[in-house]
């Protein structure tokens, strides 16, 4: 009989995970403090993201931003060590229980957010929205026991890697889009608007956010295809309307409808931002909510 003490005692990955979460936490604090102390000068409206990105202002690093990036990268590095430690200890990747899924998601969200933060200056202020969202997972993982898991027989399949990896990229791109959408919405609040005066106009953020959502749509589509191939190999059917399949397909439809609406009609900026956040929330519940209303996330998963 394993006690909680035994389980935690065996989990040598925990110190690395805690250190990684601490780095993410510090990055969040620095990001928020940074935008609060930012000089209240408007950057000027831009016609498009491309113009902004090419300008001097668009390429500049603000005081706290390098520190935020350093902390997020440190967090990713520490969680990478935690994942490797657990992998070596239990003999397989983070694919089975919620603790492993959250841990790997903390890694991928941090990694892709860091890349976007480094490469796309216009989205850096969105760290004040995106990093706390990552921390929701961080707090959640702290409440879970790092129970060892055996790898189900159908998980010995290369398509699982593709499916999981593409899904993580999709969620991470949604997170970046959501961060930008969050800034657009926060700007409508008197309390938070001054934090974002140095940030490009809402039109720029909106265009950028939807680019990330279109990219997310591509990766979501690839995830569905890779998942169907895996499901065909693993369970002898490529689609069976189980909890995760249905939820992720509805998520794909919602994002598809959003993109069609956004490309075709003059969707108000706030409505567009709400739609992006709705897609992220749906995706979040698809990933982390299905275990709570479905006996097995994927039918016949073990």
């Amino acid at each position: 009989m394993n006690t909680i003490g035994d389980i935690i005692g065996r989990a040598t990955e925990l110190p690395w995970l805690w250190a990684g979460l601490a780095a993410y936490g510090l990055a969040t604090i620095v990001a928020i403090a940074g935008v609060m102390r930012m000089p209240h000068r408007a950057v000027g409206a831009m016609a498009a993201y491309d113009s902004y990105a090419a300008s001097e202002k668009g390429r500049a690093w603000h005081g706290h931003e390098k520190l935020v990036l350093t902390l997020v990268v440190s967090g990713v590095a520490l969680i990478t060590i935690a994942l490797a430690e657990r992998w070596v200890r239990i003999g397989h990747g983070p694919f089975v229980n919620l603790f492993e899924l959250l841990m790997s998601q903390l890694f991928s969200l941090g990694l892709i957010f860091a890349i976007a933060y480094w490469r796309v200056p216009a989205m850096r202020a969105s760290a004040v929205v995106a990093l706390p969202l990552i921390w929701v997972l961080g707090i959640w993982v702290l409440t879970l026991q790092p129970v060892d898991t055996p790898l189900p027989p159908t998980y010995h399949n290369d398509w699982l890697w593709a499916h999981v990896g593409l899904g993580k990229i999709f969620l991470s791109l949604c997170l970046v889009g959501t961060g930008l959408a969050g800034v657009i919405l926060l700007r409508h609040s008197e309390r938070f608007a001054p934090w974002f005066r140095h940030v490009p106009a809402n039109e720029v953020l909106d265009g950028l956010a939807w680019r990330f959502m279109l990219l997310a749509f591509i990766f979501h589509s690839l995830m569905l295809v890779a998942g169907a191939v895996w499901a065909q190999d693993a369970w002898g059917r490529y689609w069976s309307w189980d909890a995760l399949e249905t939820s992720s397909f509805l998520n794909w439809l919602l994002l598809g409808m959003g993109l069609h609406a956004r490309f075709t009609y003059r969707v108000p900026l706030r409505a567009g931002a709400v739609l992006i956040i709705a897609v992220f929330v749906f995706a979040f519940f698809t990933y982390f909510g299905t275990p709570f209303y479905s006996e097995a996330a994927h039918k016949g998963v073990i």
Partner: protein
């Protein structure tokens, strides 16, 4: 006519179709068999018509190669999925070790109205299998040996299991958790010829506690069997289920009479005699056939590549150009459209 086609290919109709498909998907959740098929077929048909008309009439699609490929791919996926449902086969199979596959043994058969006769060409013989278990009876890898004709009059051995199906004539045979033991019995009636067959006991080790079954021999009275197995089963450590290493005592109940038989032993019963020849095993397979699988995959990948190319063309190239020309701040054009 063109106006009508434009209306059929409108974005508004696409959005309606997607909403209806979403409703159909939500209704199908966890119960595709119990949900009327039209909740998916109607929106998919509507979307197929919408896609076809949009491709034909909408210059925002048909003049952009990436978007055109993406939407053509989606159209192909809908058509292929439809063909797949009309020609598919889903079934279950329990096959005894050492016996040849026969299409008549399939159970729970569901097939499309245009499913062909290819199953009659499928031939294989089931061999032995092993299943690895971790501590706590957590199932690991299955290794099921099958013998298939090599085309030169002989047979060749292949090991399948879990995510490595046996694929013959396009039919895919997947091992399942459903497998167990089967005593081989010979019934020799008082008059007539003897017959040999197997009784498939319930799935093992899932029903380790309930290895029983009933059978009524021709001209005899109902018999109740119970199999007392020795497989080395253990829950506290890793264990290998291997039919070759298992043995079992067959308990036969005929009315009030109870007899225990070891392999090779017989018992005289009303109407004939029963001989317990040996213990063997059976494997449960899920059988799947869909001739469109490969084409669905190709259509999906090409479709997404089209969307990727569109993204790159729309944003990647422009971003590079903009960086090269070092454009500075420009006045705002307040638009909700994608820049």
């Amino acid at each position: 006519m063109k106006k009508f086609l434009r209306a059929l290919g409108s974005i508004r109709l696409a959005l309606v179709g997607m909403v209806l498909l979403g409703v159909g998907a939500a209704l199908s959740y966890d119960n595709p068999a119990g949900t009327p098929v039209w909740v998916l077929v109607v929106p998919l048909a509507l979307l197929a018509i919408n896609l076809f008309c949009a491709i034909a009439t909408n210059p925002r699609i048909n003049r952009r190669p990436g978007l055109l490929v993406f939407h053509l791919g989606l159209f192909a996926i809908i058509v292929l999925a439809g063909i797949g449902r009309l020609t598919h086969l889903d079934a279950q199979l329990e096959i005894t070790e050492g016996s040849a596959f026969s299409p008549g043994e399939l159970t729970e058969v569901k097939k499309g109205p245009f499913h062909g006769e290819g199953l009659s060409k499928v031939a294989f013989i089931q061999g032995n299998y092993t299943v690895e278990y971790n501590a706590g009876l957590v199932r690991g890898l299955t290794h099921s040996q099958v013998l298939i004709p090599d085309g030169r009059g002989g047979v060749m051995s292949r090991v399948v299991g879990d995510d490595r199906p046996l694929v013959l004539e396009g039919y895919r045979f997947y091992t399942t958790y459903n497998k167990g033991f089967a005593p081989v019995l010979t019934w020799t009636p008082d008059q007539g010829e003897s017959m040999t067959g197997t009784i498939h006991m319930p799935s093992y080790p899932l029903f380790d506690y309930k290895q029983d079954s009933t059978w009524t021999p021709p001209g005899g009275k109902p018999l109740r069997f119970w199999l007392r197995l020795d497989t080395g089963l253990r829950q506290d450590a890793a264990w290998l289920l291997d039919g070759k290493k298992a043995s079992g005592v067959l308990v036969v109940n005929a009315g009030e009479r109870r007899v225990e038989l070891l392999p090779g032993q017989s018992v005289r019963l009303e109407g004939g005699s029963l001989r317990y020849e040996r213990l063997t095993s059976w494997m449960g397979y899920k059988v799947f056939y869909d001739p469109t699988l490969r084409w669905l995959f190709i259509a999906a990948v090409v479709s997404i590549m089209g969307l990727g190319a569109h993204f790159w063309r729309k944003f990647g190239v422009r971003m590079q150009r903009t960086h090269e020309s070092s454009v500075t701040d420009t006045p705002v054009a307040s638009s909700g459209r994608m820049p």
